[in-house]
């Protein structure tokens, strides 16, 4: 039940950008490129979740965005830490 259409439209736009990032995720020559794409997707997903929470008009959905904003970078940190060790 979408109650605020502009927010949903913005969310759809974000999904389009995620698609673009997915291209980088698939072609990225090095793992670091892919990780950057993942990081960007993380941020975009958080934005999408916030926007869609407003679009649905439901506060309780926003908790998910908080969890993502807080935790999504842990995965990135692990990949970065792996990269730090060199290509072993």
């Amino acid at each position: 039940m979408i109650v605020a259409l502009p927010f949903a439209a913005a969310g759809l736009a974000m999904l389009g950008f995620i698609l673009v990032c997915m291209v980088r995720l698939s072609i990225g020559p090095t793992a670091a490129d892919r990780a950057v794409a993942l990081d960007t997707i993380n941020t975009l997903v958080v934005a999408t979740m916030v926007l869609l929470g407003a679009a649905f008009g439901l506060v309780v959905l926003m908790d998910v965005a908080l969890v993502y904003a807080l935790l999504s970078y842990v995965g990135t940190l692990y990949i970065a830490r792996y990269l730090e060790r060199g290509l072993s």
């Binding site: 039940m1 649905f56 008009g57 439901l58 506060v59 309780v60 959905l61």
Partner: protein
């Protein structure tokens, strides 16, 4: 409205994971295949519970007189997700120990038990 596309996509995910299990010899890849199957099944479960026009089955700050989606599949999926994490952790532990003994992740090279 969108027909059964979500259900079909879930099955596609299951089949994708099965494909990885069938044709990838790397042990970590096999675990990844299991994860993909699991994602598909979880999505299937949640998709069965969706009601068109429904909202979250939570009464806090809910708009009055709204249709709610079915809550049971969500509870089942929660259980399923944690089970999935548990199996993944155990499988990866086995992979790590196998690699420690065999220095390889190729299914053909690490296999000792056969026949």
């Amino acid at each position: 409205m969108i027909g059964n596309v979500p259900f079909v996509v879930c099955m596609v995910l299951v089949l994708l994971g099965l494909w990885a299990l069938l044709f990838r010899r790397n042990l970590v890849k096999i675990v990844i295949g299991v994860k993909i199957i699991e994602n598909g099944v979880n999505l299937y479960l949640v998709a069965t519970g969706y009601v068109r026009g429904g909202i979250v089955p939570i009464y806090t700050y809910a708009p009055p007189d709204a249709v709610m989606v079915l809550p049971t599949p969500q509870a089942l999926t929660l259980t399923s997700i944690v089970i999935g994490l548990a199996t993944t952790a155990l499988m990866l532990a086995f992979v790590v120990v196998i690699h420690r003994h065999k220095k390889s992740l190729d299914g053909r090279k690490v296999t000792e038990l056969s026949g």
